[in-house]
């Protein structure tokens, strides 16, 4: 079987449909980070928030018997966690990166502990009591060739993640709150000088990180898979940081990076069927992230040099 042959069998419509599905959790986390980044906070706690979201979604689903109940539990727990972050950083003056790192540890430890204490399981939890999300068929496009296969039959959260990108963009660039948020991130002192409540904006940005990661975590444990396992996000919170870095904190641009990661994730799943060692194939998203990071850094550096040159030319 030649390389081209393998490529032909992998590059199918279902690969791209899988891409959309694999992008969703990273995209939610990315948007969460975007809101913090726009308020001037580099939120490295996304991975922990995703873990907390995924776990409490399962708890909520088992308790209420509904996937939406699971989402509600995830939202509440992630909001509490991100407010805790905000209080320790903004009120008690702790370093944002260190509190973010701490959130990852607490998220990991707490969910592992509660997995045993609340769900009586070690390592992972799976049960018929666990109600997950159903996929949606969009009747309008369902019967169309290609488009139907690609865009119909996904989980509601998949659609929601892409709609959220548009909403976030609209919010940041077209509403007063969005403007205030960006002003705080760009120059806090100037923002305060014109009467913007910087602290409130930072609370808001961090809370939105919690909300978005609750959606992302819920997607992992109630849609993508119908179970919770230890360390479930598997680095997606970190990939989101790379996506934000690539997208310079802008929702649409960061989505492009999230789509690239989703694609490599889907590709890794596809390649595993061809007997390649899973350890090598699973490296793909991380290697891709490195490559994407380098490209965006080179581009940013070029642009900075060009701006400097233009400024020099304008002066002369």
């Amino acid at each position: 079987m030649g390389t081209l042959d393998i490529l032909g069998r992998i590059l199918t419509i279902s690969l791209f449909a899988t891409t959309l599905r694999m992008t969703t959790p990273v995209l939610f986390a990315t948007l969460g980070g975007v809101f913090s980044a726009q308020a001037g906070i580099f939120n490295v706690g996304l991975e922990g928030l995703l873990t907390i979201g995924a776990f409490f979604a399962v708890v909520g689903s088992v308790t209420t018997g509904s996937a939406w109940g699971g989402l509600a539990f995830a939202l509440v727990s992630c909001l509490i966690a991100s407010l805790g972050f905000a209080i320790i950083h903004l009120e008690l003056g702790a370093d944002e990166i260190i509190v973010g790192l701490a959130l990852n540890f607490i998220g990991y430890g707490l969910t592992n502990f509660l997995l045993i204490a609340m769900l009586d399981s070690t390592g992972f939890f799976q049960s018929p009591l666990l109600v997950g999300f159903e996929t949606i068929r969009i009747s309008l496009i369902d019967n169309l060739p290609v488009i139907g296969d690609l865009f119909s039959g996904h989980f509601s959260l998949v659609y929601l993640s892409f709609i959220s990108v548009a909403l976030a963009h609209w919010f940041l660039y077209n509403t007063p709150w969005g403007f205030h948020l960006r002003a705080v991130g760009e120059n806090e002192e100037a923002a305060v000088a014109v009467g913007i409540n910087a602290r409130l904006m930072k609370y808001f940005g961090l809370s939105m990180s919690g909300v978005m990661c609750a959606f992302g975590g819920t997607f992992l444990s109630l849609a993508y898979l119908n179970l919770f396992s230890e360390g479930m996000p598997a680095g997606r919170g970190w990939l989101a940081l790379a996506a934000i870095n690539f997208g310079e904190g802008k929702p649409v641009k960061s989505m492009v990076a999230a789509l690239i990661f989703g694609f490599t994730d889907a590709l890794a799943i596809g390649l595993q069927q061809f007997g390649l060692p899973s350890q090598i194939v699973l490296m793909l998203p991380y290697v891709t992230t490195l490559v994407v990071l380098v490209f965006s850094a080179i581009r940013q550096q070029r642009r900075a040099t060009a701006t400097l040159a233009a400024a020099a030319a304008a002066e002369a």
Partner: protein, 377 residues
């Protein structure tokens, strides 16, 4: 840059002034120590309370659980020796983080560098035969150092060449290293006799000599202690160490002052990778005796926490690492004795980290204690 000159007494009169000055400086240092101690006691209390609440939530008795934890960490010579053994890799990982963080190089890739160091050490340990003990062990440790530093190289190269954010690149290299070593022991270097996917066992000549019969404590611990003092000397007494710290405080300013900013970042990253790679070698050649996938229960991550807890001070890393080793070993004992899962220890560690840079406690203590001793401004 000139270093601050100490005032030199030239006459009797000025020497009394100096004595008074040094006495007040001593007082100032004592107050500083008291403030720090009170601050640490406070954040430790907060963290234990957080863990205690979680234990209560699980319907268990926190005091009983913490008692079992304490006993598991320090109850008897052998338990203490095992705690010291666990501390050796943690001290090395903590030093690795301290060197990088002091230079403001955010090396979050300690875990990956640890894996690469550990695998390289294991490979040297099981591939070469018939070497004298001293030479074989030296080669094993060197392999860990070199592999750890090499795995840190791409991140700092990308940072210096294209200003690629090292936080994300080092994190990605973690996942790649863990998967790569998992591949190596699943295929090319698989020992069919091993229960878990792992390499063949290291030759006896590659194992670190034990210090106490009946305990896994080995010379790796002494090596780690010595290196803590060496790193402390390097950071605070050598020219390069001074440059590293200045670059860490303010890279732009250090650059204006003519310091080699890029070289300092490079040096810090290489030392960091080398130290944690050595940690990997020590834990393989001292404890496991072979490389096993997922042998590390987050030693690299713990190293970062330890360094931050020690305010990135190389000597502070020693007590912080001992404390973490006690928490980890005690956590296992607590789990088997009381049924409280050791994951609660991660919650305690995380809460400690969340509060370690909190400024309000220390500001409050400062205001209070300085008020009592206004002469020591």
């Amino acid at each position: 840059m000139t270093k601050r000159e100490e005032p030199k007494p030239s006459s009797n009169e000025s020497s009394t002034i100096t004595t008074r000055a040094s006495r007040s400086r001593l007082k100032s240092i004592l107050i500083e120590v008291a403030i720090q101690a009170a601050n640490y006691a406070l954040i430790l209390l907060v963290s234990l309370l957080a863990g205690g609440l979680v234990i209560l939530f699980a319907g268990k008795n926190p005091i009983e659980a913490y008692g079992a934890l304490f006993d598991g960490a320090l109850g008897g010579t052998l338990k203490i020796a095992d705690t010291l053994d666990r501390a050796s890799v943690l001290i090395l990982a903590g030093l690795a983080a301290a060197v990088a963080f002091r230079t403001s190089v955010w090396n979050l890739g300690l875990e990956g560098q640890l894996y690469m160091g550990a695998f390289a050490a294991a490979w040297v340990g099981f591939s070469f035969h018939g070497l004298p003990l001293a030479i074989h062990i030296t080669l094993v440790l060197l392999a860990g150092i070199v592999a750890g530093a090499l795995w840190a190289l791409p991140a700092i190269f990308l940072k210096i060449r294209w200003n690629v954010n090292e936080v994300v690149s080092t994190l990605m290299l973690n996942y790649i290293a863990i998967l790569f070593t998992a591949y190596l022991v699943a295929f090319p270097f698989k020992d069919p006799a091993a229960l878990f996917p792992g390499t063949p066992v290291l030759d006896a000549s590659a194992r670190l000599p034990r210090l106490i019969p009946g305990s896994v404590l080995n010379i790796g611990f002494i090596l780690a202690l010595v290196l803590a003092f060496v790193v402390n000397w390097f950071m605070f007494r050598s020219k390069q160490g001074y440059e590293l710290r200045m670059v860490g405080l303010n890279a732009r300013f250090a650059g204006y002052a003519g310091m080699p900013v890029k070289q300092s970042a490079f040096l810090a990253m290489m030392l960091s990778g080398a130290l944690v790679g050595l940690g990997g070698a020590v834990v393989i050649a001292g404890f496991f005796g072979r490389f096993i996938t997922s042998f590390s229960v987050g030693y690299g991550w713990d190293g970062m926490l330890i360094s931050l807890l020690a305010q990135n001070h190389p000597l502070g890393v020693i007590p912080a690492a001992l404390f973490y080793a006690g928490l980890s070993n005690g956590g296992m004992a607590m789990q088997s004795a009381t049924g409280v899962d050791q994951a609660v220890v991660t919650v305690v560690k995380g809460t400690l980290l969340a509060f370690v840079t909190v400024k309000v406690f220390i500001d409050f203590l400062n205001r209070r204690l300085r008020k009592w001793a206004p002469s020591t401004s």
